[in-house]
Symmetry: D2
Subunit: 328 residues, 4 copies
């Protein structure tokens, strides 16, 4: 590929997710393959402001495809929200000869990239990296598939003890304002109920449903609750409500927490990261900018960053129905 | 749903794969949800011939969604290839009041279903269950995603010891005549080379490539070989050839074998199984027959069984290129 | 073995733990091997009172060695604390011909067994099953090794995200009043600090130590806190204190919760369960009673139940020092 | 501790095993704790001859406790078997100021260390690192516990598919001349038969036993075969023999291979490695030499290297009997 771009910078920003390292590796190796230089930028936009750069070749990314987290580290940067911070960044990039950027992160990351592109006409391509799967323009964000397996594995363990004791467990999972993790991991874990922000379930209906579940012969129950769900103020309030209204139940709460953000990425996330990383570099070299690379109907495709930020990933209502049917 | 169908039979046939139990569970619970009876048929077509049936309700399939294998067991049946065998099957089904079938398996299973449907005008719907992902009409067969994770996890372990000793490993993976497992797990595991039947690589090119890899500074290598690949007679012959031509290498072989067919299904496979199982029952109740349910562009869709059998799943050549780039 | 015992009952009681099923399997098969009958008693002492018994043969315990939880289910029984409850139990056992018991559980379970033995001169042998490892007379309780691996695996994932963000995590683990899980999993996970009830650490010393850790160049930290530790009222209070005194830190809390009680048992726990189950049956057949079977200096050995209840497993202070050294 | 020793070298040699990195980390940090310098020696004795040394501080070993393999790499060295090679080593050590060695490996490693000590009166302490558990003077070698879990996890997967098809599987596991892995993982995986070199089983007895197993109602079987077992020439010959004599069986072979040597170490192996690494450094500083540190009756204890090399770890015959009983 011939291109005016000679050196590409890559950074990770926002919450980390499994697969980010695999994407960094793919960006670095695609640069090498297409004979452009590559520079790793540490700690996201903050490192861009501070000039925390490192030249990266194919051997610098060996043995990271299977590691969670991000070797470039991540951070949230207040300074990048100022014009001054972004100007510093621009000068650092220019001084280092970096003439295009690949940014791995979520909404916030892309918003920063869009502004930066608008102000300095600097070529940027985004890669969606977050476990929450809440980005428009891709069926999967990096780390989402891994997080689903982590959640399902944890709930399988909780199920062992729930079954042994005829208990009811509320399991809170991540996902910010989106119920993707809760719905999919809930189905995968065979949850009796799944509470997601996209569906207002109501406390009465929950108790009703748990009663039906008990009558059908179930002796233990798992209720998966998305952290964004608003049925109760939080999962502990849910517990209190159910204990009051169903005193026969021994209710427990488990908040899965940050382990959902780590771990060795699944094969799916590693392959997706590899595809997205390669495509991001190729897109820049083809003169494209201000796009996010994503997976749409099983193909790698570009979506304008603006749409990726404004749009929201939809909840598949077929899945909600499947969930009702298989938990019967 | 109103329908003339009152009782649905479900069986698993051919090689088992993770997710089959989740699909059985979904079929049983969808039957319950739509108020039709459900009958489990043991040991595939052989059990159908022998009348090895069991009525199944929602509680009979509890706690199986996370189990590998198939509680209905599987078998290959020579008797079902005879007219007599199929007639016996038909009479057993009629006598038990079963008026439609869901069949979980691969090519061979679907071929049997199609013949049975043609001879007795018996409603059949197939669900693709095989780790090989070699079925036309679905982007994923049940068990494929799980097998990829199993393979990648095993190769991660092999990589630990390969790195410690500067060794070259040939790792043979399953997939029959298709290279899907090898290509995807190979990318996921960061393999230096991936040998698949869809691409004639040649022994000379392999040695050349390994030499380049060594010159680039790599001190250990993993070559993933699809069992269907024909570059050498088998993976041990490959080892001999490379040892002869690259005496500086300490070469080892690992044939991953049947562990690839088992294990707790991934979240993806559990959700897919749930969706396919529900859709299979709904399709029968809507009067459809002779279709396979599959995943096409992220939606559950039907493909005529005939096409599913004759068509072949294509290898994505974008992926082959991605593999070349990221292994550089 | 010749013995007056013809039928042995087995139950699980108290909190369940991985390896209980493997122990049940070993008890059932040892009975078969020595030609005595075996009866499974459901839901611990409560099922004994209610006569919830089932005859068990070798095939009834197939494919359970790798399953978490307990197929006999567990429960806490208030009724068994009454003389009346125990008399009912005795009559149920006599009526069923059960003339000896194997009880799998912890302190509370053994206390019940000792009383029952004293009142009715009924032969009892205990098997220590709890993840907390807080039983005198055995270096390992069933499930402890598995729980350690579960905790370490979870913290490895948390470490990924802690490293990516330079964060401080407080991770609360189980263990009741004993710090075994915290100390061992803390060392295993490479924790910077480990807070256990056996050692009064003090909030000041914690902050001091975290400061030293930071000065030594560490950019993220994991502090493992035993649920029994009394340094703060709870782990959230710890977070508040550290945030106030070390405002530069981004502090997070993760309470691992009940997933620690489930999961497929480790090989160690499966083998230990097999050895203890066999030995429990053999001990009864040799006329022994009122003992716990345990692992002492790598050999299966008996400890009087009374001692097992009153004694307490000691914390190895060598390990505390090792922890200080390797976290430097 | 006051000592004449100012700088300690550490190396890994022979086959790598999970836990070696945790031991390296403990050695490095114990050196720091006791204010002596530490030098990592790459590629075992070969690196010692070639002067492939690197000063190591506490931060150089961060985030390796959970990694399989060895960051110091390993190798077998023919040169070290020559007087010349050992003299070169001695001069390299002296020139670098290294005045004591910690050697992590197996029999061969210790033999080299003993000779080196005898020739140059150079202080050496060995740490047993091999998955085979075939070293006298320790109940566990580093990596053995992890390997057991890897094997059991793999056989659990094979069991899924064996059960689904009523098949007989021969699973070959590692262990060199010792049956420890086979016996323990065989019990853990619920194997029907376990063939170990310590017990001459005979092909006839195997067929007999499989027949009994079948008659008792078992429909699938797993036979675990130690690589050192001599019942057949190899596991494929076993398959042929059984197929000839039990034509009703569908027999498969799985050779688990090198994945057994890798993977993230279990909590047990990480803690053991930490304890052994600390003790090795402390022993050198106390003026001890020519010992192996090991785990004996749950305490860290020293065994003269000579005994560690000549002695052999015994097979516990109680376990063989337990295996017979629980597989009934």
């Amino acid at each position: 590929m011939s291109s005016t771009i000679k050196k590409i910078g890559v950074l990770t920003s926002g919450g980390d997710s499994p697969g980010m390292n695999a994407a960094i590796r793919a960006v670095v190796r695609a640069c090498s393959y297409y004979n452009v230089e590559c520079v790793g930028i540490y700690r996201g936009y903050q490192g861009m402001i501070e000039g925390d750069f490192k030249a990266m070749g194919p051997r610098d990314v060996k043995n990271i495809i299977n590691k969670g987290g991000t070797i470039l580290k991540s951070a949230r940067s207040k300074d990048f929200m100022t014009k001054e911070g972004r100007e510093k960044s621009f000068h650092n990039l220019k001084n280092s000869g970096v003439d295009a950027l690949v940014l791995i992160g979520g909404d916030g990351t892309f918003t920063g990239a869009e502004i930066f592109n608008a102000e300095f006409n600097f070529p940027v391509i985004g890669i969606p990296g977050t476990i929450d799967n809440d980005i428009f323009g891709t069926t999967n964000t990096l780390g989402y598939d891994t997080a689903l397996n982590t959640v399902v594995d944890a709930i399988d363990k909780i199920r062992d003890t729930a079954n042994s004791h005829n208990r009811l467990f509320f399991v809170e999972v991540m996902g910010r304002d989106a119920g993707h993790i809760a719905l999919n991991a809930g189905i995968g874990a065979g949850a009796e109920e799944i509470l997601i922000p996209e569906e207002a379930f109501g406390l009465d209906r929950l108790v009703e449903s748990l009663n039906r579940s008990k009558e059908s012969g179930k002796t233990s129950s798992i209720v998966v609750v998305s952290e964004g769900d608003k049925i109760g103020k939080n999962v502990f309030e849910l517990k209190d409500y159910v204990e009051e209204n169903m005193p026969e139940y021994d209710v427990r709460v488990s908040v899965l927490g940050h382990m959902q953000r780590g771990g060795s990425p699944s094969c799916f996330d590693r392959v997706l990261a590899s595809r997205l990383g390669v495509k991001a570099v190729e897109s820049l070299l083809e003169g494209k900018s201000n796009f996010m690379v994503g997976l749409i109907e099983d193909k790698i495709a570009l979506t304008p960053l603006e749409q990726a930020i404004k749009g929201s990933s939809k909840m598949d209502m077929e899945l909600v129905k499947v969930s009702d049917i298989v938990s019967s």
